[in-house]
């Protein structure tokens, strides 16, 4: 199906050049600074995260909960009317990107993550009294495969592996004699290779001399399901997972 064309174009050089320059222009276009109209009436000395950090969202979509940060002064009291600007890597957008803190000293923004799956490190910055103060916030975006993994984990795994309990969904974590590892537990799971995780999922805990409380899912989940589960685990892992480098054959 792949076909190759080589230099068969005829005329229109100038048109191409014009398009190129347009593209270059479009690429350089920057949105006007959003905080132009905002006038800070106060300044704080510290930024703390109130809520909305460590969310797991989906690439290209808005996070479920807004991101809320609070500006405090030296005594730890909230500062209303301070300017907070939000920054993120390419593809992340904030609505609004700059905001004044409300009466309770909190700045709220809706975050839309970029199109690439993985960890996003966002920054909230406030000018501060002496020097700008910044706060790092971590959010996670799931791509297609990771989200399939998340859906499977929710169905088959999280009732035991997630100790978070709610009335609608009671966790089984506390009932187990041998505690399962939460999928976010990077300090343990990052040390395990994909092959080890695959064999535990397929053949159960005893495959790696671990507890039989972990049943085998080899006849229930497909190979792509298992890959999706592992991809999900790697993405939500904290501390973040570093994939092993590729080993190349010497020339």
């Amino acid at each position: 199906m792949m076909r190759r064309f080589t230099g068969s174009m005829t005329f229109g050089t100038s048109a191409i050049l014009a398009l190129l320059s347009f593209a270059a222009f479009a690429g350089c276009k920057r949105p006007a600074p959003a905080n132009a109209a905002l006038k800070a009436t106060a300044q704080g000395t510290a930024l703390v995260e109130s809520s909305g950090g460590h969310q797991v969202g989906v690439t290209g979509t808005a996070l479920k909960d807004p991101l809320v940060v609070q500006v405090n002064d030296d005594h730890g009291t909230a500062v209303p009317g301070a300017l907070v600007e939000f920054q993120g890597s390419a593809g992340v957008s904030f609505d609004p990107a700059a905001v004044l803190t409300d009466a309770s000293g909190q700045a709220t923004t809706a975050v839309t993550l970029g199109a690439i799956a993985g960890r996003y490190e966002l920054n909230a910055v406030t000018p501060g009294k002496a020097a700008p103060v910044s706060l790092a916030i971590v959010e996670v975006a799931l791509g297609y495969q990771e989200r399939v993994g998340a859906i499977l984990a929710d169905k088959y795994c999280s009732r035991c592996h997630d100790s978070e309990s709610s009335p609608e969904r009671v966790s089984n974590y506390d009932n187990l004699e041998v505690k399962p590892h939460p999928f976010t537990d990077g300090s343990t799971l990052n040390k395990m290779s994909d092959a080890d995780l695959t064999s535990i999922i397929l053949h159960g805990g005893p495959a790696l001399n671990r507890s039989a409380l972990m049943p085998p899912y080899g006849n229930t989940l497909s190979a792509s399901d298992v890959k999706a589960l592992i991809a999900y685990t790697r993405t939500v892992s904290d501390p973040p997972y570093q994939p092993p480098g590729t080993v190349y054959e010497r020339k």
């Binding site: 792949m2 690439t59 979509t61 989200r147 009671v170």
Partner: protein
């Protein structure tokens, strides 16, 4: 002028003065002309991306193999069946290179893992944009007639929906969008035909207004029409932004056209027990599991309860007590197709429930509304408005015909050309932003737009947009064999007196049988093979929950003994799985040794106690059903078949298939079927 002519003539002399010189100059011009094509290619945008790609892979460890797979020139994916001619891979060179997963620089990133390879499906089928273009501007941002820019990532699941008409596990947003489309009644006005010719059906249940005057007052109708969400925040009824006189006239027509229904105005025959026992109402409401389907706003303002039936926070403001009593006695008299079961309440219970529900009212709601008797002009005008606004597209209204094709057909909305769209000032020129704006604020597009204001969350709007964007011309043009058809609910209808009971109890509202019904409760298609007669009869008399961590939802229906027996017999006879061999694992031959062996397997080899409870003192498993009396609930043949392959009996169940040997499965079955009573580790032989 003279000077210019002099210069020109001397230039002519210099270039073409003699034949040799002229030949040389013409050759040079020809050479330059010939150089245009290669030069243009050299300076083209895609060529510069290919050079950048080579520079990027130059220093990588696997440069040799990457370079070997790199092909210079324009690439094209041509798939005539899908209508795809994509040259995107000319610049997006790393799409298939697994080792480039760490490169975040576009256009060289590896494509994330998706079920379909780029060679077989191309790019524009999911991402939109212009596949044939070879510049970024044309490919990504073109807005010319018949073209459209690439789709924002958040609607990417619409690509899946073009071929997959069924619900996929990996596309929650598309699935939500399709359910919003059906649940909010969009298809009552906008017809949507799937590529295979089937229609998208609404799943909401707009009430008939033929007897509305029995149920409610004109004042309530007026307040409701003005702002439905003020009465019930969760209602799917949109706001038509009517002014007072229009709302008044519509309510006048609805009340004047309403015909009384026998029984709705009968005075209640029993006094509520509330006077004697104030807790009787709440406890009957709780015991009947009304909350499984109906939500009520709690003190904190959160809705608690299901969304199958209407919200009951202010039901006392709306419903007339006589109507409510008649409805609770038998809902099918007023509405033959309601999902509400007939509970067989005693008159005393009905009176108690009516008193309890009547107390759920808000004295502020509609307090300022006092309507004078309607004049004939008002009634005529009300009817005219009802016809204009298309109320009868959703609701049955006496004297008004259900309009056909009331609103534009949306079967190919996902391919609506940008040239046909009138964008609002300041709006991004793309189909997705148009659809979002139209859903959010339809009336912003002009005063003549009839579409009402729906109350949807941001994620519902995005999901609905995704579902609409999937309705493309391409999805209709591709061959049928490339499409995965939607799975419609079957039209299964059980027969006989039991069938009538199943319809009256509205079992289908929660349970699924033979491909029809809800998903709130277990699928009962093979229930007859699964359970024992005694247990089923007792359960129907007095249901209890099987799973410790689940909220019980099955109500008590106060069935008579003969009805109970009828239903039990029917379920046990009809809902039998052909795959289950009843004689296979008979308990009669189980020796105590086998039972003991099964117990060992249960606790050590298979560690079933991680999810199930057999011994209420020692086991803590909180996921699967409690098995303390499984021996008196399930048939041994079912337990055996379940252990061998749970997914075969109930697709999608969370219990893993452990691939048990026949011997292990028999021993476990023996152990489980010996668990007959509450407490303890079963019968001690």
């Amino acid at each position: 002028m003279h000077l210019l002519r002099k210069y020109l003539s001397s230039a002519w002399q210099a270039l073409f003065g003699d034949p040799v010189r002229a030949f040389g100059v013409v050759s040079l011009i020809l050479l330059l002309a010939l150089a245009i094509a290669p030069a243009k290619e050299h300076f083209s945008q895609w060529h510069s991306f290919q050079r950048k790609y080579l520079a990027l892979i130059h220093d990588r460890g696997d440069a040799i193999s990457l370079r070997r797979r790199f092909e210079p020139g324009i690439h094209q994916i041509w798939l005539p069946e899908l209508g795809v001619v994509d040259r995107c891979t000319t610049c997006h060179l790393g799409l298939k290179e697994a080792s480039l997963a760490d490169v975040n620089q576009q256009p060289f990133r590896k494509h994330p893992v998706v079920p379909h390879p780029v060679d077989g499906f191309g790019c524009v089928i999911c991402h939109g944009g212009q596949g044939q273009a070879t510049t970024v501007a044309e490919a990504h941002h073109s807005e010319r007639a018949g073209e459209e820019p690439i789709l924002p990532t958040r609607y990417i699941e619409s690509g899946c929906g073009q071929c997959h008409q069924n619900s996929l596990p990996g596309t929650p947003q598309l699935n939500l969008g399709r359910s919003v489309l059906a649940r909010y009644g969009c298809v009552h006005c906008h017809a949507i035909t799937r590529p295979d010719g089937s229609k998208v059906e609404a799943t909401d249940h707009p009430p008939s207004l033929a007897h509305i005057a029995d149920k409610s007052t004109r004042e309530w109708i007026f307040s409701w029409l003005k702002d439905p969400q003020a009465y019930a925040a969760s209602t799917t009824m949109p706001n038509y932004k009517l002014n007072d006189s229009d709302a008044n006239d519509i309510s006048a027509y609805l009340v004047s056209s309403s015909k009384p229904q026998a029984g709705d105005s009968a005075a209640p025959s029993a006094k509520p027990a509330a006077a004697a026992d104030p807790a009787a109402g709440p406890s009957l409401y709780g015991e009947s599991f009304c909350v499984s389907c109906h939500a009520v706003q709690n003190a904190a303002g959160n809705l608690v309860g299901g969304d199958l039936g209407p919200e009951l926070t202010r039901i006392g403001n709306k419903a007339n007590p006589q109507w409510l009593a008649a409805w609770l006695e038998n809902p099918r008299v007023y509405d033959a197709t309601t999902p509400m079961p007939r509970y067989r309440f005693t008159p005393q219970q009905i009176a108690t429930l009516v008193a309890f529900l009547q107390a759920k009212s808000d004295s502020d709601y509609g307090s300022g509304v006092h309507l004078d008797a309607a004049s004939p002009q008002q009634i005529t005008h009300g009817r005219k408005l009802i016809v204009e606004l298309g109320c009868a597209a959703c609701h049955e209204i006496n004297g008004v015909q259900k309009p056909e094709n009331f609103a534009p057909d949306l079967s190919t909305i996902g391919s609506k050309p940008l040239a046909q769209i009138v964008f609002l000032p300041g709006m991004e020129h793309s189909l997705s932003s148009y659809i979002v704006a139209k859903i959010r604020q339809p009336r912003a597009f002009g005063p003549s737009v009839k579409m009402p204001q729906f109350t949807l969350t941001a994620s519902q709007t995005d999901a609905l947009t995704t579902a609409l964007l999937a309705l493309t011309a391409r999805s209709r043009a591709i061959p049928d064999k490339l499409r995965v058809a939607a799975v419609p609910d079957s039209k299964y209808q059980p027969a006989g007196h039991a069938g009538k009971l199943i319809a009256e109890l509205a079992c289908f509202s929660c349970h699924r049988f033979n491909g029809r019904g809800g998903d709130m409760a277990p699928d009962l298609t093979w229930e007859g093979s699964s359970v024992q007669r005694q247990w089923l009869g007792d359960f129907l008399h007095n249901p209890n929950t099987l799973r410790p961590s689940l909220i019980r939802r099955m109500p008590r229906f106060n069935l008579s003994d003969s009805d109970n027996k009828e239903l039990t017999d029917y379920i046990l006879t009809v809902y039998q799985s052909p795959a289950i061999d009843v004689d296979l694992a008979s308990v009669a031959t189980n020796s105590p040794d086998v039972v003991e062996h099964g117990k060992q397997l249960f606790y050590s080899k298979y560690a079933c106690q991680s999810c199930h409870i057999v011994d209420t003192k020692a086991d803590k498993g909180y996921i699967g059903p409690t098995l303390t009396q499984v021996g008196s609930r399930l048939t041994p043949a079912w337990v055996y078949a379940w252990l061998k392959n749970p997914q075969a009996l109930r697709p999608g169940t969370a219990e893993p298939n452990q691939n048990l040997s026949d011997e292990d499965a028999r021993a476990l079955t023996a152990f489980l079927t010996s668990q007959k009573g509450p407490g303890g580790r079963g019968a001690k032989q």
